[in-house]
Subunit: 248 residues, 2 copies
Amino acid sequence: MPRTRARSTTKPPPRAEQNANQLLAALPPKDYARLRSELATVPMKQKQILWEPNRPIEAVYFPINAVASILALFDGGSVEVGTIGNEGLVGLPVFLGAITSTGRAMVQVAGEGERLDIAVFRREAHREGRLRQLLERYTQALVTQVSQSTACNRAHSVEQRLARWLLIVRDRVRRNEYLLTHEFLGQMLGVRRATVSETAAALQRVKLISYRRGVITIRNGPGLERAACECYEIVRQEFERLLGTQSG
Amino acid sequence: MPRTRARSTTKPPPRAEQNANQLLAALPPKDYARLRSELATVPMKQKQILWEPNRPIEAVYFPINAVASILALFDGGSVEVGTIGNEGLVGLPVFLGAITSTGRAMVQVAGEGERLDIAVFRREAHREGRLRQLLERYTQALVTQVSQSTACNRAHSVEQRLARWLLIVRDRVRRNEYLLTHEFLGQMLGVRRATVSETAAALQRVKLISYRRGVITIRNGPGLERAACECYEIVRQEFERLLGTQSG
DNA sequence: GGAACTCGGTACGCTAGCGTACCGAAGGGA
DNA sequence: TCCCTTCGGTACGCTAGCGTACCGAGTTCC
């Protein structure tokens, strides 16, 4: 069932403009033209679920200024395993021939994204061309991110991981200030809310960040990078190498 | 530079035979025929490095009865993020358009594998066909494994993770006994050797496993599955669903 | 203006796993 | 046969982060 869901705004000028999804922006005009009318610019609200474990994925999303998370589940809980912003796409399982995923995809930081029905996406992604090449490389980049997070969860302190996480999100929203509660952060990092509060307080004390009721502000980016583990830099460089993107 | 490296044994009868790599076994005869003469059956020795971080990957390996690991690095150490046996392929980064990877690939359990030069692999993998479809699905399966490991490392005890790991390897070597020292296990799980010894002793006490100087034997598979976290079962099912494979 | 809720600060006792270190037993090589 | 190396058992003190819980301040809604 292609050609679904009408666009909720009229299409903006296509290409690499400031606030566009980078995968879409990198497409040759001809390829983009085929997609254009099928894309729907939609709001992505915080905590919105993009797909649930083992349920059919209905659409893929190219975030513009929103950030989404892929979560892995266990017992009652969940932990974030991957973070997706305007450098990428929420929906790789579809690209890789799956209909469902064992994880959950959820919007982390509100914003907008381009929604694309999976039927169209499949058709375009299987065509030999730039989109496919980009998706392959993006897959490799995301695998790197997830892999590094596996090691990171094993090896690094909450303080390092929190710092890393704040930077990852910053790179994706391209702002130093965004909305996130400690509770939410705890769920992402897989730690108690109380641990986040203590750790965030420590980062605030040394003026790397500041925050008030759900608003996090990065005060000293380079300092925060020093407080983070090398996982941040390793993954950032790999994204850059693979995609020429500024996001880590 | 296709058509490199001579085969070190003469090719065995192609298809789905007992001890073949399952990806290769699933290829239609025509596709397999094109690969056949390029595959070299090679020994894979324990601790052999298949690729190093940020160095060109030279060949991909389809394990037959060996098991390999993908490791993510940090500071001085490393942790396993993915385990690959005869259900898969060591070399997905190449499939995904990368020349290098940030991780390391190492042989875990000795055995044999089919080695394929990357030039040939790239050519075949980019052809529209069964191989490509299999590789896409295998990529999705491996992403699931890595993702679940991220959560697992955050949420589960060493005892649960050790049990899970032993089962994962068992499924891939398709034997209940294999060679692994506590030291090695510790490196895979990202814990101290001493912790492995204590944990393994606990599993031995309740007769789920037994071991002596580097040889691990699973005595009670179903019991060990109960001792493992659900991560094992979640991933196993996903492999089966995506690939119809018996490996978790 | 007050009630109800959300968010963050903080505290207390607990424990899994760490770093380190030492020892004996098994196995391999000459 | 003996030596040397590898492997596993065990112990001690340490600490990061957990579970739980309570409190006050900011927000939102009526």
